[in-house]
């Protein structure tokens, strides 16, 4: 193959990839922004206005509760794997295999499991509790992986200096290692947020799709992404779907921007 041909193909592929991204974003924005009006942003959902506000609030509820549970578990797992476990430990191998497998399971299987276990077996019904617990398991591997990477990026001389000054292991982790690793861990938590915000398949049969604001932990609701699915599946509220898409993409843009910013900060801090 001639060099020119190779170069041409490489440039063409990159152009295709990035134009498709820009095109998708522009298409959703161009069609959605004009419909982001007071109707769709009104406080209560009615069949007339198809308001996204209740779903927006539900999204925040599910997101907040999931992170509240998943973050400590994920970060503690990272502590164990990086700071405590000895090399070649059998338990570590099993835990790694478990998290790798969890990371590979598709959303719909999480959804089925959540339905079988939380909704039916534990009797939660379609509820915030079932949706949140399913999401917790789903995002755990993301948080664990980024915690591990952030902790491993911290220079060992910092730990040794802390031990040398007489600090215990726990103190070293919380006062010396954690502050340096924090941006990396946060960037993982934020990535997990992105996954929860965009999730549909895992929540459809756990959280349910009720259009109202959930009245408690054991009541059903729908997140923005689910709201968009229901609207686009019905096919009669195309404009409202576009508008919901705009809000979802804005969410994702903010989340990704934050995550990129924080991982750059980690790279600077560990140098």
């Amino acid at each position: 193959m001639s060099s020119k041909l190779i170069r041409g193909l490489v440039y063409l592929s990159a152009a295709l990839t990035f134009t498709s991204l820009v095109f998708i974003l522009l298409y959703i924005f161009a069609n959605g922004l004009p419909h982001l009006n007071s109707d769709i942003l009104s406080w209560n959902f009615t069949t007339d206005n198809q308001s996204l506000i209740p779903s927006l609030i539900t999204t925040f509820i599910v997101l907040g509760l999931t992170l509240l549970i998943a973050t400590p578990i994920g970060v503690f797992t990272g502590f164990y794997l990086v700071e405590y476990a000895k090399k070649g430990n059998k338990v570590v191998g099993i835990i790694r295999m478990a998290t790798d497998t969890l990371a590979a399971i598709p959303s719909i299987v999480y959804g089925l499991f959540g339905m079988l276990f939380f909704v039916t077996f534990l009797g939660f019904q379609y509820s915030v509790a079932a949706g949140v617990l399913t999401s917790v398991i789903m995002v755990l591997p993301l948080i664990i992986r980024s915690t591990e990477e952030a902790l491993m990026a911290v220079n060992d001389s910092l730990r040794e200096a802390s031990f040398g000054l007489g600090a215990g292991k726990l103190r070293t982790i919380f006062k010396v290692v954690l502050p340096v690793a924090m941006p990396g861990i946060l960037s993982g938590v934020i990535l997990a947020s992105g996954r929860i915000i965009g999730e549909t398949a895992a929540l459809m049969y756990t959280l349910g799709t009720s259009s109202n604001l959930p009245s408690g932990l054991f009541s059903s609701g729908r997140t923005l992404a689910l709201h968009m699915y229901v609207l686009s599946n019905e096919g009669i509220h195309v404009n409202q779907s576009f508008a919901t898409g705009v809000v979802l993409i804005i969410f994702v843009l903010v989340v990704n921007g934050l995550s990129t910013f924080l991982s750059n900060k980690l790279a600077k801090g560990t140098k």
């Binding site: 190779i6 592929s13 998290t99 590979a104 598709p106 049969y205 898409g245």
Partner: protein
């Protein structure tokens, strides 16, 4: 003394947290298999896997998922044919051709592509690709080709991310050595760097396969969802994932169990794909 107790206690807390992942995967396996396998045995595994009729509301009902298994495989293959070459070449661009200033923008762009929710991709395809396909091939425009194109785009960030990092981890001496022998930049990248990054690139394809086969909400909107073996690339298609999502809302009894069993088949597919992925990764870290 007190400090030591706290140390020991917290180490226990960390270990228990870590074991929660193991507990989760065990629970998932138990509940999925217990929910689906009894039905498979009762209905007959061969009839279930290789039956080509899915008509849950007939009497007697038939639950053959061959159309969905083939549907998933066809759609995934199509996505690979479309997405993998573009993805790998884009990774080559990012690792070897792109100025660092541009890379600072493109890297987050790839991450953004990975983060756009499935439902947004699906809705985009429903509004744009489906009408184009309708003009082009007739019918509803919701068909296998539409799904392949969309999934081809959706696996791009997966393929690009892992391929790029494996291209970048090839020792720089390979590059300088080849250039010193008089090879052009392009030839060096294609003949030296890419072969050296082979196992990482293959891993990226396997991850892409996993993503495509597990995708649900984007496909359900645009694939037509007919539970019959597709006769051509422009026939409608139903995949394993969409079979579950479409009918779970109203399924009961045997029908519901058949859908869970569909999930089990999908789960086994993913476990196999993931097993291959881990095997390659392990081989790579040993080499």
């Amino acid at each position: 003394m007190k400090a030591k107790k706290v140390e020991g206690f917290m180490q226990g807390v960390f270990l228990i947290s870590a074991l929660l992942s193991v507990l989760s995967i065990i629970l998932i396996i138990i509940f999925m298999f217990a929910g689906g396998v009894p039905f498979m045995l009762e209905y007959g595994i061969a009839d279930f896997l290789f039956g080509d009729r899915w008509s849950p509301s007939n009497t007697p009902a038939s639950f053959g998922i061959l159309p969905m298994i083939l549907g998933s495989i066809f759609v995934t293959l199509g996505a690979i044919v479309i997405g993998v070459p573009i993805g790998i070449l884009t990774a080559v661009f990012m690792a070897e051709f792109c100025p660092p200033k541009l890379h600072r923008w493109l890297k987050p762009a790839v991450n953004l592509m990975a983060a756009i929710p499935s439902i947004v991709y699906g809705f985009f395809a429903l509004q744009l690709i489906v009408p184009i396909m309708r003009n082009f091939s007739g019918g509803t425009g919701m068909n296998m080709l539409t799904a392949m194109i969309l999934l081809g785009v959706m696996i791009l960030p997966t393929v690009i991310g892992l391929s790029e990092s494996s291209l970048r981890s090839v020792p720089r001496s390979y590059y300088t050595g080849s250039m010193a022998l008089g090879a052009t930049h392009e030839r060096t990248v294609m003949k030296v760097i890419m072969p050296a990054a082979k196992s990482g690139i293959i891993s990226s394809i396997i991850l892409g396969v996993g993503r495509a086969i597990g995708e649900t909400m984007a496909v359900v909107l645009i694939a037509g969802n007919q539970p019959i073996i597709p006769q051509s690339i422009t026939s409608g298609v139903r995949t394993l994932t969409t079979n579950i999502v479409l009918e779970m809302a109203y399924a009961a009894g045997e029908h519901r169990e058949a859908l869970i069993a569909t999930g089990v088949v999908l789960f086994v597919f993913i476990l196999i794909i993931n097993g291959v992925f881990m095997f390659i990764k392990r081989k790579e870290s040993r080499a």
